[in-house]
Symmetry: C2
Subunit: 465 residues, 2 copies
C-alpha cells in the first residue's frame, strides 16, 4: 500500500465559521483602555479606524461567527490548504514521532496573512469604504492586503518602511501588480511623515512611523479605514480556519490528535490560527493537546516579558491592551523573521498564557535557519524564516522524544514559503547570521520602561465599576 504524504480537502470542506475562543475562555481578556484616561473603551472608540462589523467581531462573545459566502469564494483560490505527513523530515531526524504540518504557503501572497486580509477587505467593501490603509515592513502583510483589496475592488494604500521599499523591491512590485499604491514611509502625504522628513530627510523609516501615517490617513478621511494583520481578536479569529481544517485532515488521515502543536509567534495570529481550535478541544472535550508558541530569543515577550497593559504600536497612539510585552519602545534585533519582531502579544493569547492554557519557548535565529535547511532538504519546501521557528521547536521535541523513547504526534504551522526570503538564506550560508539572545539586563531595562497600568490595578478598577 502506498503511503499518504499529503492530506487534502475539497472546496466544500472550507470551514463555514470562524472560531471565537473568547466564548470558551475561563478568564475573558481584559478590555482595552483609552490611552489618555486609562478607562475601558467601547466599540465606538474604534469606529474611525475599522468598519462596524469588524468592531463587533472584536468584542464578540459568540463561539462561532459565520463566514460570508463572498469570503469563502475568495478563500477557494488557495483553501483548503494541504496538510502533510513529514515523512522526509521524520526520516532525516531518525525519529519515531509522527510529524504533520499545515502548509499555508500556497496562498497567492505566500503566507497565512490573506486568511484575515480577505474578510477585512470584504467587510470594508460592504460598508462602503473606498480605501484601506496599512503599514508594512518587508511586505508580507501589505501584499496580503493588496491582494484582498483587489479581490473586492477597493483601493489599498500601503505605507512601506523606506529602507524596505528601497532594498526589497519584490514585495513592493507584488503589491503594485495587485493594484495597490505603495508609498515609502515617511512620506510627504501625512502630517506625521512631513514632520519626520523635516527633521531628517534621509531617515530609513520605521514600522512605528508607517503605522502613524496609515492611521492618520484613515482617521482623516471618511471613506478610508485602517487594517491590522495580527494582535487583535478578530484577526486571530479569522485565522482559526487553519486549525479547523487541520483537525478535519487529521481525522481524514486516521491520525491521533496531536500531543504537541507548534506555531511561530509574532503578534499571535499565526499561532492562534492553528492552535485555538485545538485548545477548544482541550476546553470542551478534555483532551490534553499541548500548544506551544515558538518565539525568537530576540523578541521573547512570552517567555521573558511582563503581563501588563501596553500600547500596540511603538509611538503610543493605540488603545492600551493587556499583553505580554517587552515594552512598546523596545526595538528587537534585526532578525530575518521580520514577522516575529514585535514587542507584545495580543490580548487573547496573553490571557491564555497567563492561565497556562498555552506555553511558549524562545529560539535563536541560527538554530531556526539550521532547522529550516534541514526541512527544505528533507521535505522539498523552502520555509519562510518565521516558519523556521516552529520547525526548530519540532526538531527539539522530536529529539526529546527519541531520548525518552516516546512516539508523540506533532503538528506545526508551516505558515509560508521562503521565496521572498532567499537573501536571508544567503546570509546564513555566508556565515553572516548572528545569535540574538537578550541578556537579563536588556530584558530588565526594557520592561522597566513600561509605566502603563498593571493588570491588577485595572482588575481592581473594573471590580469597582
Amino acid at each position: 500500500m502506498e503511503s499518504t504524504r499529503k492530506i487534502t480537502l475539497s472546496e466544500n470542506e472550507i470551514p463555514t465559521h470562524w472560531y471565537n475562543i473568547v466564548a470558551d475562555m475561563p478568564n475573558k481578556p481584559l478590555p482595552p483602555l483609552n490611552p489618555g484616561t486609562h478607562e475601558p473603551i467601547g466599540p465606538e472608540a474604534l469606529a474611525p479606524l475599522f468598519p462596524m462589523e469588524l468592531i463587533m467581531q472584536e468584542v464578540s462573545q459568540e463561539r462561532w461567527v459565520e463566514i460570508p459566502d463572498e469570503v469563502r469564494e475568495v478563500y477557494k483560490i488557495w483553501r483548503p490548504t494541504p496538510m502533510f505527513r513529514a515523512t522526509g523530515l521524520e526520516k532525516a531526524l531518525g525519529t519515531s514521532a509522527k510529524i504533520y504540518y499545515k502548509y499555508e504557503g500556497v496562498s497567492p501572497s505566500g503566507s497565512h496573512k490573506p486568511n484575515t486580509a480577505v474578510p477585512q477587505a470584504y467587510y470594508n467593501m460592504k460598508e462602503g469604504v473606498k480605501r484601506i490603509t496599512t503599514e508594512t515592513g518587508a511586505g508580507q502583510w501589505g501584499s496580503a492586503l493588496s491582494f484582498a483589496c483587489q479581490m473586492f475592488g477597493i483601493e489599498c494604500d500601503v505605507y512601506m518602511v523606506r529602507i524596505s521599499f528601497d532594498q526589497k523591491p519584490y514585495r513592493k512590485m507584488m503589491m503594485q501588480t495587485w493594484g495597490a499604491n505603495v508609498y515609502p514611509s515617511p512620506s510627504e502625504r501625512t502630517n506625521a511623515g512631513r514632520q519626520i522628513l523635516a527633521q531628517d530627510p534621509d531617515t530609513p523609516g520605521s514600522l512605528g512611523i508607517a503605522i502613524s501615517e496609515a492611521v492618520e490617513m484613515a482617521a482623516m478621511h471618511d471613506d478610508t479605514k485602517y487594517s491590522l494583520g495580527s494582535v487583535l481578536n478578530h484577526v486571530l479569529m479569522h485565522q482559526t480556519i487553519i486549525g479547523q481544517e487541520a483537525i478535519k485532515q487529521l481525522e481524514k488521515a486516521g491520525a491521533d490528535m496531536p500531543d504537541y502543536v507548534f506555531a511561530p509567534f509574532g503578534g499571535g495570529s499565526n499561532f492562534a490560527g492553528l492552535a485555538l481550535p485545538f485548545i477548544h478541544k482541550n476546553l470542551t472535550e478534555g483532551t490534553n493537546i499541548r500548544c506551544i508558541a515558538s518565539e525568537p530569543t530576540s523578541a521573547p515577550k512570552l517567555t521573558r516579558g511582563i503581563f501588563r497593559y501596553d500600547f500596540g504600536d511603538t509611538v503610543g497612539m493605540t488603545p492600551l491592551i493587556p499583553m505580554y510585552t517587552l515594552g512598546h519602545t523596545y526595538v528587537p534585533a534585526k532578525i530575518h523573521a521580520g514577522g516575529l519582531r514585535y514587542h507584545g502579544a495580543g490580548a487573547v493569547v496573553s490571557q491564555l498564557l497567563a492561565d497556562e492554557l498555552i506555553s511558549a519557548e524562545a529560539i535563536d535565529q541560527l538554530e531556526t535557519f539550521e532547522a529550516g535547511i534541514t526541512f527544505a532538504k528533507a521535505e522539498g519546501i523552502i520555509p519562510a524564516p518565521e516558519a523556521n521557528h516552529a520547525i526548530a521547536s519540532v526538531i527539539r521535541a522530536a529529539n526529546q522524544a527519541n531520548a525518552a523513547g516516546t512516539s508523540p504526534t506533532i503538528l506545526f504551522n508551516l505558515c509560508g514559503h521562503g521565496n521572498f526570503d532567499m537573501l536571508a538564506y544567503e546570509d546564513y550560508f555566508a556565515g553572516k547570521l548572528q545569535k540574538h539572545e537578550m541578556t537579563q539586563a536588556e530584558v530588565n531595562a526594557a520592561v522597566e520602561k513600561v509605566d502603563t497600568p498593571t493588570i491588577s490595578s485595572v482588575q481592581a478598577m473594573l471590580a469597582q465599576m
Copy 2:
C-alpha cells in the same frame, strides 16, 4: 448552490503512467543524426550523457510508460496540481467562454519543471550516478533539478550564466539551499570555461557556454551524467501528467472537453505536458480539441521558422534534431520570459506541427504582460512571464468568441508563479518593456544561416537504408 472554483484530486489520482505520443503519431519523428557524419545515431551514442533508462524512454514506442513508485512518492509533495475555473477572469473579460487553467506553480520550485527533474534524478540515482550536471539561465530549470537531486541524495552541479549568477541571486540561493553546487559560467572548472575566460575574463557568459561546461563535465566523469529540461522526447513525456490530470479534473467538474488548449512554448515540454493527452483523444477518440502553442514574437520558430535538421545547442555539439528552428546561432531578444528564448522546437512537437495536429501563434511581450496583470487582478495569482503568453492567447480567443457570439471551453497551462519575476513586472510598470517582433529580413537572415541537412534529404537517405 456554491460555485466550484478549484477542482482538486487526491494523491492516489496522480497518474500511474506517462503518455508517449510517439506510439500514436501518424508520422513518427525522424531520428537524430550524428553531427559529423549526418547518419542516424542509436541509443548508445547518448550513453555518456544519460542513464540507459532515460535513453530507452527517448526512443520508446510504447504508449504508456509506468511511473515508478519512488517518483510518485516525490510527486506527492505538490501533485495532483489544482485546476481552476477562471471565474474572476471570465468576469473581467465579460466573456461567456468557460475558461479553466491548470496551475503548476504549486511545486516547490514554482513551475512545471520538477515533473521531469524528479524522474531524471531518480533514474540516475538507480543507475549509480553520483552527480548530475546541467546549465541554467535565470535558474528555473536549475532549481527544479537541484530540488529533485536533493530528494534522491545525489549531487547536482549547476552551471549558471554568469550575468544571472550575479544579478539574480534568489534562484541561486534556492539551489544552494537544496544543496546544489552553483558555478558561475564560464568557470575555471572546465576546458571550455577556461578557454573562454582566457579570451575574455569579463564575459557575462551565455547559455551555450554553460551547456558546453555541463556536457564536458558529464562526458569526462564516469559517475556524472547530464540533464536537459525540455526538447527531448522523454522530457515531454514526463510532463504529460499535467494533461492527464486535467482530463480527470474536467470530467470531475462535469465540464466539456475543451475546444481550445493553450500553453506557452519554449522547447516544447510546457506545451506538450498539457496538450499531448488531449491530442491522444483527438487521435484515438475522434475529438477535435485545438491545441495551440503560444510563443514569443521574439523567438517565433513555430510560426516563422523552417522545419529542418538543426543543433539543439548554440555551439553545435549536440546531435542534429528535426525541428522547427530559427537557426541554432540565432540569439532571441532578451525578453523576460527567459524560458521561451530558444531557437528551436523538440522533434515530437515539430512533427505534430508539420502534420497540422497542433498549431501556434506568436505574441509580443507587451501584450503578454498586459494579459498577466489582467489575470493577477482577476484571479489573484501572479503568473510567470512564460505563462503570460498562454494567458494572452486565451484573452484573444475569448474576445474572438465574444465577437462571434460563441461560448467555447478553453483550457490553459498556468505553468508557474511570478514570485521570482517581479523585476519583470517592475519593468513593465516603468514603461521599460519593448516590443520584440522579428522583421521578415531578420527571419530570412536567421534561417539562411542554417546549413544542416533538410528533412527531405534525410527522408530520402532513410528510404535507401
